[in-house]
Symmetry: C2
Subunit: 147 residues, 2 copies
DNA sequence: ACAACAAGCGTGTATATACACCTTTACCGA
DNA sequence: TCGGTAAAGGTGTATATACACGCTTGTTGT
């Protein structure tokens, strides 16, 4: 995602879902903008970080850890394999694959991680402690909507 | 979007952006599931409703009203023109186009609108008045992040 | 040992999203 | 009037997302 969407009048919408979607787009574009010098999107950085932390994870394990669909993860890996940030090798069980960071991947993750810290800090300050805690609690509750 | 993503362990993540994205996916999949009998996604219903309420709007006007990118709107119209729910005609200014609902579009919007009411009601009850008000306030604040 | 089942994965298809770039058309100032 | 600029729109490309379907490989029960 590269989106930095233009400004639109901020009229409130009654639909909770549309409100979520717009806010999600705004936050994503904010993080993506801050991450830009690393060449990564927030989704890609998340993938790299998860690979880094769970060494030699399989695709399904990774998807479970990241709470995204297995096939989504599969597609999201493409730009990262194309630019040689991750490497996919056959796993011990012939059905599985092991995902690993390359050296370039480790470097990109480190660069992105630093920028992520800045974005995260900026958002935290923007919201303040109270709003931040509320938000995280509400988001967890909403995520629990789906089984 | 058809996604009804499977269950994943609900461990908290430190990244506000990822939390937003997951919650947004969950809420969207909830609405999409309820809307399924209408054959519409929440994004498509929103488009139909906006077209219905702003008669003969141009593409840019519609995008502004919906607070999505103009080119995104353009792409999102395709499934609806394909299934003949909306019609695009040349506008008075030769540069512009007028978007209108067909009869089938009006019927689909009515059907979807009814189901939307059910989804919205369910979410409201799930959250409760307090959380709902907090959520909408926070989402508006986050949306304002982007200019 | 073999058949049934389950687990892991990939791909076709479809939607949602936005940026960069280009074309066409209107408008405005000199 | 004409030339420059602004407005509206379309398309190429890329990412993010997930469902349906099918293939391969491991596991298990008889």
């Amino acid at each position: 995602m590269k989106h930095v969407c233009q400004a639109y009048p901020k009229t409130p919408s009654p639909c909770i879902c549309l409100n979520m979607k717009r806010a999600s787009r705004a936050v994503t574009s904010f993080y993506d903008e801050v991450l830009k010098p690393s060449g990564l999107t927030i989704a890609q950085l998340a993938l790299l970080r998860h690979v880094e932390l769970t060494d030699k994870a399989t695709i399904s394990e990774l998807a479970k850890a990241m709470r995204i669909d297995r096939t989504t993860l599969n597609r999201n890996m493409k730009p990262l394999t194309d630019s040689a940030l991750i490497k996919i090798s056959p796993g011990k069980d012939s059905r599985t694959r092991e995902i690993m960071l390359t050296d370039a991947g480790k470097a990109a993750a480190a660069s992105g991680w630093k920028l992520w810290g800045e974005a995260q800090k900026a958002i935290k300050e923007y919201l303040g402690d109270n709003d931040l805690a509320n938000l995280n609690q509400l988001l967890a509750k909403l995520e629990a909507l789906v089984p």
